[in-house]
Amino acid sequence: MELFISSNPQLVMVIMASTQMAIYSVGWLVVLVALRADRLSVLCWALGWLVLGAGLG
């Protein structure tokens, strides 16, 4: 693991950034279920981070 991180830190950063964005996305989808208003904007926001993370990864 250490060898992998030290040999390719850029790849590790990409994986971390993509995972982070996916987690945000899931979090917002959970918020979306509870939220009564502004659903469409939150849906766009959540999907945006999901697609952004997927594109980055």
Binding site: N8, V42, C44
Partner: protein, 341 residues
Amino acid sequence: MLLAQRGETRSWWAFTGCNIAFLSGYSLVRLGLERFVGVDCRREAALTLTVAIALLLWLGPDAENAPWRVVLIYGAGAWLMLRVLFALRFVVVEFSRGWAVLVALPVLVLGVSSGAMAIAQMVDMQKSLELHQFSMANVRILFVYMLVAGAFNLSFVVLVNLRLVQRLRFQNERDELTGLFNRRALDGALSREWDRFKRSKQSFAVLMIDIDHFKQVNDVHGHAAGDVVLQEVARRIRNASRTLDMPVRQGGEEFLVLMPLCDAAGAQVVAERVRAAMQAQPVRVDADSESTQEKQLTVTVSVGVAVAQPADSKAASLLERADSALYAVKRAGRNRVQVAD
């Protein structure tokens, strides 16, 4: 990036599909934020995305076009983000300048960083800055992505929560039918005004307003017509009041206006304005199922006025005097203004 790192031949998915997804993500995030603040940017965002995707498809996944692809991706990303800054003026209007700055910072950092990457690539078109190739510029932009993603989401959490709090506060303090303040809001404001009066001796007044013969409106024309009358009376009270006055629906057909920094003469002027506004024009209510014609109801109000005096022991005694003045008006024939002694 993960596909590209495998070192296989340049596949469409790794070098074009991912870039399209990346820009689509940017556009969706922007769309979400701008919809939230009430800006319709769909046409412009769709146009930017369409042009960028068309160019990406035209450039294809080939290595020789890599620098142009990098310029396109970062340039479009910077444009999409920096355009969001224009929508933030609505955050200033709805929330405050401070909260707008909180959102603007990650947007600005992301936009400027993306723009800097596009410029860096344009300066040296020999060496591609594609994300899968190791370079300090790529490490820096990835670091920015991680930081900005956190800050951007945090600021959106703040905005969503602020709006929820504002809605709760509004519902807590407003009458649902008329949009005026409710009794709960009045209690707090009256207490504050009373404290200010005791401290500074600057007088304030209350108008107690009652719709004349309102029960008949409900009984004869129905409760829907009664609701329309209440809404119209509330609208006219709001229009007749000063900017700093606080119009309140106390309940039923009783309204109240709390008037800070106001003496008896000033309060009487506003009270007369409210009374005249009601008498001047009948209230139009929708036709019911039996009649096809729109009804016009002449609605009048009685107003009792009381001004805070040093002899008053508590704020409630001011309301009692306004109430007594109102009942004096009722006894005297309604549709008048009476100032309490």
